[in-house]
Symmetry: C2
Subunit: 440 residues, 2 copies
């Protein structure tokens, strides 16, 4: 029995309906847990693909194709006959009538799992929204990659030395995992293939700055890995500046809070994330960071039929709020689905307990840091661990082969195969530093 | 010595300058022939990648990634120190002053090779320009793929049976190689993965029509291969209609000259090509099809410093004009470059002779037709030949691995891995049949 999606008139199923909003790790694992259970499941997402966000920075560094880290959602459900998919944008939730309003119709639910994740937060810093590049979606990663290549093309024919240096200055804001990993990957993109692509550019003009407001990089990692990370990046030529905050971003400059102005056409903003807006817009109570404070069963405070999981859920455990990482999303997705099945069986939902598998960060070719429990690893062995774990978590065997081939290219041959600028990939209204000189 | 690109003031090289406009097969092979010769070469293209056009239809059928058939132009020139690249749009040629005006500056030349190829011709059929999809550029192929997937998404939630059938009716106009190969690839995309993706769609509603005005498909092929091609396509469910011409295209219909109206949101126009406009716009005499009628040396009639090669050249040989195929482009590119070197050595340019290596067409998985001289092959053996020759002609070893992996996926597992709809891939002002229902 399929779920009708054009309204509430022609519901013919007698099975309870579970609607899951979001096809990230949380949503997919919730759906998987409900496959073959006596429920009808509908997964709603505004993209027809799942994105493996952990490798997004490699797309933005021309290391992987966008297609390599995307997987068609419908393929995931081929072997789950009770799971259907709707490509649509969920606009709001009507908890009283138990419906979700989407641009594909009004969807009724018996149970709802909200798994819309997190979005970039600019913290209101002036000019960031308009002038900075982001790294939270596949489109943003492709746009950033195109922009980087365009900066080099424009620099290769720029006669003014100041303008040329600004085109070749790349400022990355935020020393968390994304900022660190992108700084490293960008440094390797430039020192490898781009040096060979642009014999006319003096690479002493190229600068990569990584700015972090806190006194250290990758805050949640153990001390020795924090130091290792900063040292590795500096060895790769990245100008790592701690206790450095950005006050304003313009198309030609990043202004720091200490008064310094950095002339640049490229500010990559990875400094903050917040909960996606659907829950808040639907009247569900959220914290200051836009995340929904859930009960230990992952239900929201005043509605036993609504669960929130993954990045969007603010899950208090002992003294900490769980981090926005894939493992929390997966485990909370499974727990929410199991709790719905318990409710249907007349049992009470169980509290969620997070099994922390550790954290890892890749700084570049052959350099990574891994923390598992109290143990830490760094260097080549950690990097191999990083490779294996990321490949294993990628959905789809073909994607694994493609990623492996691209990595082999990159790591063995110091070549980046995918540094094309597809004009149609450029979001309309894209930012400064266009390839076409007259549009600058 | 690099070629200055901001004007004609700071030319410091004493070597003759050869400018090549276009980085297709013709332009690249001309550049390759001039590598290490005592000339400075500048290749101008509006994309920073070379496109392997022979496999474009597979990108539009979600069989290959766009990246698989693109190759970064600058990589081609890594080992050619006298060849430089300019990412720019060539606007016009000033033969008197020996310059090319581009949006990256005015480029002086001593010798010029125009290799800008061919573009789609609508023959002025009303509505084609506005409403049909094309298959001549990578952007167009990606836009068409996105559109096909969007049609299925929209059909899966369309309650009106007539609108649903129109969404699932695909009209391909033109029975040349592109039209035939795309019809076959589309039929396999639909009968393989899409049937599994959309269990809610009745696939009896899906129709693929291939319309050809002439009495047979693939005109230049031998008779037995023409018949084989039509028979194979019909076996795959394609409604092949010969002697059928299109009179008008609207967003909801294809109107035939025989008065029939086909309700469809998808018309793919592969019926005609013409010479790209740069030569004509610069006052160089062209034929009715926009191609430049060249001397047997590939020079234009009234200027010994300007060569035209590839699709843009109308090369009369014995009783025929050479076809617009990669082999003509490659061979004429080499000949033009050699002739420039002869001119520089004080010798007279030699006439071009085309060595015809035959032609081939792939109708689908395990079915192809190959004509070499008077010999013809068809079926599985021809298909293997087709695979090998296309892989060999692809530039870049990585691209070959990627294509091979995707083909293995497709041909062995009947899966298409790359059927994503990336919104940012959508050219602005894209045509009917959007994914988002309210935009329909």
């Amino acid at each position: 029995m399929r779920i009708p999606i054009e309204g509430m008139m022609d519901i013919q199923s007698s099975k309870p309906r579970v609607v899951i909003i979001g096809a990230g790790f949380g949503g997919l694992w919730a759906a998987r847990t409900l496959a073959r259970a006596p429920v009808d499941v509908l997964v709603i997402d505004r993209n027809n693909y799942h994105t493996f966000l952990a490798l997004l920075y490699q797309v933005a560094a021309a290391e992987l194709d966008a297609e390599d880290i995307a997987y068609p959602v419908r393929s995931v459900f081929w072997k789950m006959p009770n799971v259907d998919f709707l490509l649509a944008h969920a606009r709001s939730i009507d908890a009283q009538n138990q419906t979700v309003e989407t641009d594909g119709g009004i969807i009724p639910y018996d149970y709802l799992i909200i798994a819309t994740g997190s979005v970039t937060s600019t913290f209101g810093v002036p000019g960031v929204e308009e002038n900075a590049y982001f790294l939270k979606t596949l489109e943003e990663a492709v746009a950033l990659k195109n922009h980087i290549i365009c900066c080099f093309e424009a620099a290769s024919r720029e006669p003014d030395p100041d303008k040329k240096r600004a085109l070749l200055t790349f400022v990355i804001v935020g020393g968390g995992a994304t900022g660190v990993e992108y700084s490293g990957a960008l440094a390797e993109l430039i020192s490898g293939p781009l040096v060979r692509d642009y014999p006319g550019i003096d690479f002493h003009d190229v600068r990569i700055l990584l700015l972090e407001a806190a006194p250290q990089l990758v805050g949640p990692m153990p001390d020795n890995l924090r130091d290792y990370t900063a040292a590795q990046l500096r060895k790769m030529g990245v100008d790592v500046r701690l206790k450095t905050a950005v006050a304003q971003v313009t198309p030609e400059r990043a202004l720091l809070q200490n008064g310094e102005a950095i002339a640049t056409n490229t500010v990559v903003w990875t400094a903050g994330v917040r909960g996606e807006a659907l829950a808040a817009d639907s009247g569900i109570a959220v914290e200051r960071d836009g995340r929904v404070s859930v009960r230990d069963t992952l239900q929201i405070g005043n509605d036993e039929r609504i669960y929130v999981i993954g990045d969007l859920a603010s899950i208090q455990e002992d003294t900490r709020v769980l981090p926005m990482v894939a493992q929390v999303a997966i485990q909370s997705g499974v727990r929410a689905a199991q709790n719905i099945l318990r409710q249907l069986a007349g049992q009470s939902p169980k509290p969620f307990r997070y099994a922390d598998r550790g954290s890892m960060i890749a700084i570049g070719r052959k350099a990574a840091g891994v923390a598992i429990g109290k143990k830490t690893f760094k260097g080549f062995f950690a990097w191999v661990l990083w490779l294996v774990i990321h490949l294993a978590n990628l959905i789809g065997f073909r994607n694994r082969i493609m990623v492996l081939t691209n990595w082999a290219w990159d790591y063995l041959l110091y070549e980046r195969a995918v540094r094309y600028v597809f004009p149609s990939n450029m979001p309309s209204g894209s930012k400064a530093c266009s390839c076409a000189p007259e549009e600058k």
